[in-house]
Structure formats: C-alpha cells, structure tokens
C-alpha cells in the first residue's frame, strides 16, 4: 500500500506546453516522414504520441518531383519529394476525420510558393475541425522573388510570417531552414513576427553525383539531407536558437534514440520531432518516449521541464 503512491509519484512528468498546446510528452513526428498518420497506425497506438505533424500541404495539390526522389548517403539520406501532396481541401475532407479519432494534437504543416498561397493554406487549415496548430515550412522558393527561399532571407521571411500571422489564431510554429549563416537571427525574425514557436531543422541541401552517368542521382539535382548525419549540426542550431529567442523550440534532425532526443531537450528544445528514424524503425517515436521516461526515472528527475535547456557550458 505504501509503495504504490510513492512509485506513482516518481513516474516522471513528461508533459510539456508548447505554444498553447499541452503535449503528453515532447515527442512528435516530423512533417513528411509520417504521412498523415495512417501509414504508421498499425505499428503503434497513435494516442501515445506527443503530437502528429502531418505531411506538408499546399492550398492546391502538388504532384511533386520526378524520380529518383531519394538516395541514401552515409548515415543519412537526401530527399527531393518536391512537396507532393493532396492539397489542403482533400486533407481536410479525407485525412482529418481519421486523425480526429485520436486524442493528440494535430499540427498541420503547410507551404506555398507565394505569400498568397501561404495565406490561403493557413486560412483554410485554421477553419478545419481537428487542426490544433500550424507549422509553416518556409524552406520553399518564392516565385515572386527570383525563387529565393523564403526562409533564407530575413526580409522575405518577415513578410510571409507576418502575412500568415495576421490570418490565423491557431498556434503558429515557424519551421526554420538550416541553410543560413545565422539561424538565431532567423528565429528572432519569426519571434518578432508573432510566431508562437519555432521548429528546426528542416533538411540541409545536398547533392549526390552518379559518376558513371555524370549526373546528379536525384532527378531534382539536389535534395534535402536528413538522418543521423545531420544531428550534430541540428543540436548546435537548437542551442543557438535557444540563446536567441524566448519562444519555445521544437528540435529535430537525426533523432533516432531517446539519447538523441535528450540532446535536443538539454540544448533547449521544449519538444522534439522524429523524422527519418521512422523509416528505419516504425516504432521509433514510442521507443524514444519510453527511453526518455526511463532516463528521467534513472536520473531521479521528476519533471522533464527540468532538463529542457539545462545544458551547462
């Protein structure tokens, strides 16, 4: 009798608050690596996740890039899916009903190739039942600004984040591009434009050459690098952003184990997202949640919030 309440007391608290969302635990799925949840639902109880970040959506459907779209690299992979997606409307009609069945926040990731498109997608998603927050992927080229990527130019980024912020009351997460000189500056732009949180990192641009054919392996020439290979870069960037802004951070980039996730949390992320690791291990997210809980218990830490940003340098 005396033992039960005691050991219950010592089950560490894993829940965190991000941008007005309360998460059971800090582990989400990274956009584009978990479909719309269905594909992985046979492997786990989706209700165990901190949140689902769904595959990126645009106002109108996109067919994406020709193939090959992926190529493996040492401890990583490049992808050039080209943001293939079913469009916001079909998502709301066909995918949200499935996601609404679960008791976890659904974060819709979206993008556009003009400010108008961003706003349109954000507005439509904000009106949908079952979308709890928006994640804005700004690693897309702007067709009205010489195809400069929104997220690599502070001014263009400011415009698009401001425009979206005005049109949605949902928590707004801005997903930062790592292909910049100073990601702290970009995070500050997002913060100043009213973002409720930032998430990072998106993929790092890379290329693999087929030497026999003298061609890039990917039909799109370049692709985005993800997976364990990028993790040290991502952890460093999370730490830089943690020092630069006050809004919460969702950290990602190569997280594969609980230990990896803890690196991000300690460096300042209030939550993490698991991407490429889902492909290798469909239950990666659950294993990571369990591992974090075990770590906290072993270390005698009662609340995960105690370790967030606890890095001593």
């Amino acid at each position: 009798m005396g033992i039960t309440p005691n050991s219950e007391l010592q089950t560490p608290n894993l829940s965190v608050d991000i941008a007005g969302l309360r998460l059971k635990n800090p582990v989400m799925t990274a956009s584009g690596t978990f479909g719309y949840g269905e594909e992985y639902s046979e492997f786990m109880d989706l209700n165990r996740l901190g949140a689902i970040i769904a595959k990126g959506l645009s106002a109108t459907p996109r067919q994406g890039n020709p193939t090959p779209r992926i190529v493996e690299t040492p401890a990583g992979m490049l992808n050039a899916i080209g943001l293939q997606n079913i469009g916001v409307k079909v998502f709301i009609k066909e995918k949200l009903p499935f996601l609404r069945k679960f008791d976890i926040p659904v974060i819709a990731n979206f993008f556009g190739d003009s400010i108008d498109e961003y706003v349109q997608a954000a507005v439509e998603l904000s009106g949908a039942d079952g979308v709890h927050a928006l994640e804005m992927n700004i690693s897309c080229p702007n067709k009205h600004a010489g195809w400069i990527v929104f997220g690599t130019d502070p001014k263009i980024m400011e415009q698009v984040v401001t425009a979206v912020r005005k049109e949605t009351k949902l928590p707004l997460i801005v997903k930062l591009s790592p292909n910049v000189t100073d990601i702290g500056i970009m995070a500050r732009v997002a913060e100043n434009c009213g973002a409720d949180a930032v998430s990072l990192i998106n993929t790092i641009t890379g290329m693999v050459v087929d030497v026999k054919r003298r061609r890039p392996v990917l039909a799109n020439n370049t692709g985005g690098l993800s997976g364990p290979a990028v993790r040290p870069i991502a952890v460093r960037m999370v730490w830089e952003v943690f020092k630069a802004v006050k809004i919460p951070i969702i950290g990602m980039g190569g997280i594969t184990t609980a230990g990896d996730a803890l690196e991000f949390l300690i460096a300042g992320a209030r939550a993490v997202a698991v991407g490429t690791a889902n492909f290798i291990n469909p239950t990666a997210t659950i294993d990571i949640i369990d591992g974090i809980e075990r770590f906290l218990a072993d270390e005698g830490i009662l609340d995960i919030n105690e370790i967030i940003g606890s890095l001593r340098t």
Partner: protein, 261 residues
Amino acid sequence: MTRYFKATVLENTALNKHFRLLTIDAGRSTLNAQCIPAPGQFYMLHSNSTYDPLLKRPFSIFKHEDNSLKFLYRIRGKGTICLSNLRDGDIIEVIGPLGNSYPEPEGDFIAIAGGVGIASLLPLLDICKNTGYLFYGARSKDELVMLSEAGALSKEVFVATDDGSEGRKGVITELLKSFLNNLKSEISNFKLPIYACGPKPMLKELSEIAHASGMKCYVSLEEHMACGVGACLGCVVKTVSGYRRVCKEGPVFDIKDIVWE
C-alpha cells in the same frame, strides 16, 4: 500481429559469386493470417545495427514455409554486402509483407523474369504449378539462378542470356516475341496474361509487346525506397493517374498504366 519484427537468420547460402539465398525465422506470432506473404509482395530488411547503411532495403518474398521466410538476392552495394555477411543466429529487422501482389492468373500465363526478377515470380509459379510459361533472361549462365527450381514449377521454360552461355543469345523479350508470333499464327485470338519482373529496359519493351498484342501485363517495379509503407513518397512511379507509390499501390502495376520516362 505486427508487420514489424526481428527475425533470426537460419541460413544465408551463397548460390554463386553474385547471388545468395537468405532464410530467416520470423517467429510464430508474426506469420499469422494477416501476415502471410502473397506472390509479388516484399519485405524491408535491415541487417546492420549502425547508421550506415541507414535505410532498410526491399526484397521480394521468394518462399515461405511455417515461420521461415526466404529471400533470393543479388549482391549489389552497401546494403546487400552487409546482408551477405549475415550468419546463422544473427538478428535482422524486418517490415512486411508489404505492397500489393500479382493478381492470380485464371489459367495459363506467361512469367517473364530478368535476372533476380525471378525472386518475385517464383512464388507465383509455385502457387499456379505448371500453368506458367516461364521466360527467363540473364547476363550469363551462372546468373540464371534457381532455373531448375523455377523450371520444375513451369509448364514450359525459355531461356536467354546476353552472352549466349545458356539458351538463346540475346534479350529475353526477343524470345517472347517469337513465341507469341508462332502462337498467333496458330491460334488467331491467342491471349495470355503476362507477369513480369526485371530491369526497366525489359519492362519498357514488354509494354510495347503487351500493347501490340493486346495482352494483359502485370509488372513488378523497383524504385528507391525509404519507408516501404507509403509514408515518405520516395518510391513513386508515374502513371496515367499521376504518381503512385511502388511500396503501397505497387509494386505490381498494370503495365498500361505506367508512363515511362
């Protein structure tokens, strides 16, 4: 009852320099009713506990019996080299069975395999014993793996090798063409469904043969895959109705739906 499991290597036999046959024990619980592989389905295999190679690799089910699954594979690059180093008792990670399967032929059919494509077609020949005309092409005699085994399950076997070391010299589609021409001159409205797995040039050629002859043709396609379960959109193929995932809507497609690039 999950399609993600760890399995124990029972055997990993070298058939020759390039090919191996891997047998794994999937355990009783994982091979229940929902998880019995159908011809044409595949599994994602990972043989390594480090991050290089990172991704699982797709392999067609070659045979299954009780708890054991067999895969016939060709050693190509990093992933298959690691696979070839597996020994009895090693543990590998598996997702599967995945994808759709060959629609079951209603009577006689033609199976055309290019190289290791035989791995995908053998289970079909097996469940439809002695009703398939097998056309099997490879680079040379020693790359015609499992020929006698596949032959024993087929109604008739036609073989071609690039170097002429066994069967007709040349590509297997040439053999198929002359077979069809002969038959057509005998039977005016001759039609059999074709089931194919092999390299892209073979499949493209087939698409013309199928079109010209008006015969049904099902092809099993290969694409680079990351997830194998439909989540990453990495493995798509262009079809008349847009990009379709080889791992989910495929790997078997009706050849007339494919837009060759």
